[in-house]
Structures are given as structure tokens and as C-alpha cells.
């Protein structure tokens, strides 16, 4: 099903300190679709996004974005590439000392010299798309978590990027906001002809919009395919993850000595 | 926008306060005005001892500052201290037989060059030398002289 590939991860290995986060991971992310990367907390999903965006360097392997090796690019070329990327951070990461309007206008002001009326129209259009045109004059501290994330989404899409990364967009949101965000991500993907890469562990929301999903565990991909493929997967691990069972291949307990050893050794 | 205006006003106030502070330090506290290049001409004098005289020490006539010490060095011929002074052009008519002495302002004050004005018609021209000088008082010498005098007096 992936006909045209946007991002190609080849034999990626990455350590954080002593801990191996990714172990010889290979993955292709298709263009023009919503791709979900799922996995329990601490499997390095966010790290994977940072590696793709070139903020971290892998210890082995390479990542090709639109055919370019991200980590071989010069700083200027990397920055040019990033103008075609949008990233929605977990917390929104709005610049706290700028208003909502200025936050969305920020990438435009930084990279292009636009006439003020044009800039204003562009920014307000983007805010309208996330339903927050009326909030343009607020400071980020006055927004709720969900609103901040929507503003961040407007900001991430203001440069008309080719790809948008979502880092845990649903964490800690009420059901309504979640619904709004799910809807927005889907709509943006089709209306702006984007490729979306979604990192999350909110199984139901993700599977409802993802065209293609993969499940990470211990630095490897355990399963990939469409939402239906995953739901029908016969891998025990995938079943545990998707249905949220407390025990299974992923044990409840942190690695520990058996009780017997605890007492036998003084 | 009002926030921006507020910031601008406060920064303006900060700059204003700095300017006032610098002006105060320059004019009232330090000798900034003294080293501004007032038009001046140079004369010099030889002393056998300059004591604690320093560069930019004032040169005074009757207690009024008329110039500053420009440099102090050793005259290669006489091996005496050669003190060069910048005298402001306003005081261009010092008589040739004026005399210079190194004096102290108060008991512990700094030293300055005092000029006693003479009576001759000819005036000192730039580069001229003051011939009559009196060196700084050196306390040890003074005490020495006093001792000699006292012992002399005892002999009589």
C-alpha cells in the first residue's frame, strides 16, 4: 500500500546513555497519508521524531527525508528542510511572551518579508481553520491545554509544510478536545495535501484516523499495517497493547529477583 | 501595543537616568572637565626634588588653577627633574622671572605646582623655562636641618 515513500529509516540505532532506544530499526513512511507510530511510554517515540527532524544524531543507520540524508545536511540545508516540516509538541510549546497571533505569525515573520495586511490575512485564516480566530489577542497563558495545542497546530501549518509531526497530541485532553483534534488532523491532512506522522499511545483515537500504523517495542517494530490489520493481529504483544491488558508479554513488574532470592542472600 | 509603549518609556527612563549619572560623575565627581583639551601652551621647570607630584596635578597662581602638569621626567643634562606644564592660553602673560615651587594642599593633601608671579616685562613663551624653582619639602631633610640647627644652637 505505501506507493510513494516520504521518510525512509534505515537500520537506525540510537543510545541514550547506556540504554539502547532503537535497535536496527527500519521503517518507511508513505507520502500523503496519516501514519501512526504507537508504543507504550518510554519506547522513544518522541526521540524518533527528533531524529527525523535532525535534532538528534543517530549512532548508526540513516534517515532519508524526501531522499535527503537528514544527518548529512549542512545547517542551512537542514533549516530549509525544516521549513517544510511542522511539529506539534506535547505541550504546544508556544512562545510564552508572544500573543496567539504573533505566535502563529512567527515563522512567517522569520522566514519571509510579507506585507502586514497579507500576513494578517494568512494568520487569521490559519486560526480560523482551528476555530480560534476570536482568540488571536490572548496570551498563551490564558489558553486551555486544548486551545494551546490548536494554536500550535495553526503555527505548525502556517508555512504550508509538506509534513507535520504530531507528538502525543491527545495526551491529557478531555474527550471533546480529543475529538476536535482528531477531526482537525484528518481535515488538515486532506485539505493541505500533507503527510502526517502521529506519535501516540491513545489507541482508539489514533486507529480511527491512521491510514497506516506501526507498533514499537524495545527499539523494534513489532507490527505494522492498516488499523484493521493491527486489530486483527495475532501477535500477543499487539493485542495486549491495543486492548490495554494489564499483563501479557509486557510484564506488570519491573525486572526483579524472585522472592526466594530476596531472602536467601543476606 | 500599550505593553510595547510601556517598555519603551521605561527603557527611555533608564537611559535618561544613566545619562544623568554619567554627567554627574563626569562633571561633579571626576576631573573630566580638566582633561578636556583647553587650548594651552607648554613651559617647563627643573626641580631637584618633586616629592609626590604626579601627572595632571594642578598648576596654580594664588590658588587659582591655570594649568596641569603634563609630564615629569629626568633632564638628561642636569639630572634634575624636568616638570613640563600645560598652561591654559587664558594665562599667556606670565612674566619671565616668575618662580615655581612644589607645594602641598593641607597637611595630608596632594601636591601641586605653585607659581609666584614676577615683575618683568617679558613674558614666558611656549617652550620657555622657569628658572627660579623651589623643590618639594622632604620631611627627612627638614628634620635633618632642624637637628643641625638645634645642635648648633646648643654649641653657642
Amino acid at each position: 500500500m505505501p506507493t510513494d515513500c516520504l521518510i525512509e529509516i534505515q537500520n537506525l540505532t540510537f543510545y541514550r546513555g547506556e540504554r539502547k532506544i532503537f535497535d536496527d530499526l527500519s521503517l518507511t513512511i508513505p507520502r500523503g497519508q496519516v501514519t501512526a507510530i504507537m508504543g507504550p511510554s518510554g519506547t522513544g517515540k518522541t526521540t524518533l521524531l527528533k531524529l527525523i527532524a535532525g535534532q538528534l544524531k543517530p549512532h548508526a543507520g540513516r534517515i532519508l527525508v524526501e531522499g535527503q540524508d537528514v544527518h548529512q545536511l549542512s545547517r542551512t540545508a537542514l533549516y530549509q528542510l525544516r521549513q517544510r516540516m511542522g511539529m506539534l509538541f506535547q505541550t504546544g510549546a508556544l512562545l510564552t511572551d508572544l500573543t496567539v497571533f504573533e505566535n502563529v505569525a512567527f515563522p512567517l515573520r522569520e522566514h519571509f518579508k510579507l506585507a502586514e495586511p497579507l500576513l494578517r490575512t494568512l494568520v487569521l485564516m490559519k486560526l480560523e481553520a482551528v476555530g480560534l480566530r476570536g482568540a488571536f489577542d490572548l496570551m498563551p497563558a490564558e489558553l486551555s491545554g486544548g486551545m494551546a495545542r490548536r494554536v500550535a497546530l495553526a503555527r505548525a501549518s502556517v508555512l504550508d509544510p509538506k509534513m507535520v509531526f504530531y507528538d502525543e497530541p491527545f495526551v491529557g485532553q478531555d474527550p471533546i478536545t480529543m475529538g476536535v483534534l482528531v477531526d482537525l488532523i484528518r481535515k488538515l491532512n486532506t485539505s493541505l495535501d500533507l503527510s502526517s506522522i502521529l506519535v501516540s499511545h491513545d489507541v482508539n483515537e489514533v486507529l480511527s484516523i491512521a491510514d497506516f500504523a506501526c507498533v514499537l517495542s524495545e527499539g523494534k517494530i513489532v507490527a505494522q499495517g492498516t488499523a484493521q490489520d493491527l486489530l486483527n493481529s495475532d501477535s500477543e504483544y499487539v493485542r495486549q497493547f491495543i486492548q490495554g491488558l494489564p499483563d501479557g508479554p509486557v510484564p506488570l513488574h519491573y525486572p526483579v529477583k524472585p522472592w526466594a532470592d530476596e531472602w536467601s542472600t543476606p | 501595543m500599550s505593553r510595547q509603549v510601556k517598555i519603551e518609556i521605561w527603557v527611555g527612563l533608564l537611559v535618561l537616568m544613566t545619562l544623568i549619572a554619567v554627567a554627574f560623575i563626569a562633571l561633579k565627581v571626576s576631573n573630566f572637565s580638566a582633561i578636556q583639551d583647553r587650548p594651552s601652551y607648554q613651559i617647563h621647570a627643573l626641580f631637584s626634588h618633586v616629592g609626590g607630584l604626579t601627572q595632571r596635578a594642578p598648576v596654580k597662581v594664588s590658588g587659582v588653577v591655570i594649568g596641569r602638569v603634563a609630564s615629569i621626567e629626568i633632564d638628561p643634562i642636569s639630572y634634575r627633574a624636568k616638570v613640563t606644564m600645560d598652561i591654559y592660553n587664558d594665562y599667556a602673560d606670565l612674566p619671565q622671572d616668575s618662580s615655581a615651587s612644589i607645594l602641598t594642599a593641607g597637611l595630608l593633601g596632594s601636591q601641586y605646582v605653585g607659581i609666584e608671579v614676577g615683575g618683568e616685562e617679558d613674558v614666558l613663551k611656549p617652550g620657555d623655562r622657569i628658572n627660579y624653582t623651589q623643590s618639594a619639602l622632604v620631611l627627612e631633610n627638614l628634620i635633618g636641618q632642624l637637628m643641625v640647627k638645634l645642635t648648633d644652637g646648643g654649641d653657642k
Binding site: K50, A53, Q55, Y79, Q80, R82, Q83, M85, G86, M87, F89, Q90, T91, A93, L94, L95, T96, D97, F106, P107, E110, H111, A152, R155, L159 | Q4, I7, E8, W10, V11, L13, L14, V15, M17, T18, I20, A21, V22, F24, I25, A26, K28, V29, S30, N31, F32, I35, R56, P58, A105, G106, L107, L108, G109, S110
Partner: protein, 257 residues
């Protein structure tokens, strides 16, 4: 064995930190000229570092000057040299206390705020977000703050000195009844614009660079948690204060010997 291991590991850590610091310094200085262009950004930072430090500088300056006037008067009276009170106050303020105390207060007021702000920007992923928007945080966040410090600390030091001399004047002339003319004239005679005031300014600029680099580095490299940021803030105040005192000794030795 344990001692050797400790020595080895801690010196490696120090070396690593120094390397990081050097890298930080080398990447921020090329970004400095760029921040002159961002006039509004710079203005805002001057407001945060300068204007907000103003009240503490004004009060501290006044009190330090008053104490100097009082102590100077007490000590100099026993030498019958009260008229030197002004000189003593002015010289100690201009040469040492002005730049140093202003820098210490600045480190506590503005330096810690800078660390906390930049650390918070890091922990809320704002720095990452800037990078993702293809904006160099060195240019947008670090450089304007460094430049603002370099501009404001000398200004604050000058205000501190003027305030201090005014405080000394209040005590010596207003309260202890010293002759006003003697106070100013003696000072005027002894304080040299070039030797004293300019050197004091140079000190203030050096301290500004030191404090800004330390506090921005601590914020930039802080562990992005609330605990990490608060630790970094404490470290900023400690390192910057010690740094200022050490650097002051070196500068004094170079300037006034």
C-alpha cells in the same frame, strides 16, 4: 582507589562542562550582531534585565554610599582629614563597589531570572519548537539577552555609583556637617576620569559578559524539569557571584598596579 576514581571522573566532568561552555560561547558570539537588528526584542530584554533591576540598584547604591560616608567620616576624623570623605566614597564606589556590588545584585536579580526563563523555555520545548521552525535559538533567545546584559549592567553600575556618592553626600554633608565645598573639591581633585571611571566601566562590561554567559548557559543546558531549572538557577547565582569576585581581583591587579 575510590579517591582516584572520584578524582578522575570529576575532572572528566569538569572538562566536559568546560568544552560545552566553550562551544556555547563560540556559537553565541557570531549571533550577536544579528540581535542588534532585532531592535524590539533587544528593547524588551533591556527592559527585563535593566529596568526591573533598577529599584534594587537605586536603594542598594544609596545605602552603600551612606555607609561609606559614615564609616569614612569616623575613620578619617581620627586623622583630621574629614574633607577626604568624598574622595574615599567616590573612589571606592567608582573603582570597586559600584561595578562589583551592582554586578552581584544583577546576578541575583537578572541572572537568575534569565536562567529560569531560558530553562523554562527549554522544559516547555519552546527551544525545540524554535529549532523546528528553522529559527536558531542562539540568535532568537540567547544573543539578544547577552547583548542586553552587556548594555544594561554598565548603565546600572553608573547609576549605582551616582546614587552611592549622593548617599555619601547626604550623610557627610547633610548629617555630619562637613563643608560642602570641601567635599566636592577634594573629590574632584582626586578622581580621575580616565584612570578611575573608564576602568570602572570596563569592569562592569566584563562582569556583564561573565554573568550573562553563565546564566544563559545554565538555562540552556539545564535538565528540563522543574527541579533541574531550580538547581540551574541556584548554580547561576553561586557561579556568577564567585566569578565576579574572582574576575574583579584579576582586573584590579591589571588596572591599578
Amino acid at each position: 582507589m575510590i579517591f582516584l576514581r572520584y578524582l578522575g571522573s570529576s575532572s572528566l566532568e569538569v572538562l566536559q562542562a568546560l568544552g560545552k561552555l566553550a562551544f556555547f560561547v563560540f556559537s553565541v558570539f557570531p549571533a550577536l550582531p544579528y540581535s542588534v537588528w532585532r531592535f524590539r526584542l533587544l528593547l524588551k530584554q533591556i527592559y527585563f534585565t535593566g529596568v526591573l533591576s533598577l529599584p534594587i540598584i537605586l536603594t542598594a547604591g544609596l545605602f552603600v554610599g551612606m555607609v561609606l560616608g559614615l564609616q569614612g567620616h569616623n575613620i578619617l576624623t581620627s586623622f583630621n582629614a574629614e574633607e577626604a570623605v568624598g574622595t574615599m566614597t567616590a573612589l571606592s564606589l567608582i573603582r570597586e563597589l559600584g561595578p562589583v556590588v551592582a554586578a552581584l545584585l544583577f546576578a541575583g536579580r537578572a541572572g537568575s531570572a534569565l536562567t529560569a526563563e531560558v530553562g523554562l523555555m527549554k522544559s516547555t520545548e519552546q527551544l525545540s519548537a524554535l529549532e523546528m521552525m528553522a529559527v536558531d535559538p542562539m540568535k532568537f533567545v540567547v544573543a539578544p539577552r547577552l547583548l542586553a546584559c552587556i548594555i544594561t549592567l554598565p548603565m546600572l553600575a553608573m547609576i549605582f555609583i551616582a546614587m552611592g556618592i549622593f548617599g555619601g553626600y547626604l550623610v557627610a554633608v547633610g548629617w555630619l556637617g562637613l563643608d560642602e565645598g570641601a567635599f566636592w573639591a577634594h573629590m574632584n581633585d582626586q578622581v580621575d576620569w580616565h584612570e578611575d571611571v573608564i576602568n570602572g566601566l570596563i569592569k562592569a562590561i566584563a562582569f556583564a559578559v561573565l554573568i550573562a554567559i553563565i546564566s544563559l548557559y545554565q538555562g540552556y543546558e539545564s535538565v528540563p524539569t522543574s527541579e533541574g531549572v531550580s538547581r540551574a538557577t541556584t548554580r547561576t547565582v553561586v557561579h556568577a557571584s564567585l566569578g565576579v569576585l574572582g574576575l574583579d581581583f584579576i582586573l584590579t591587579a591589571l588596572m591599578f598596579t
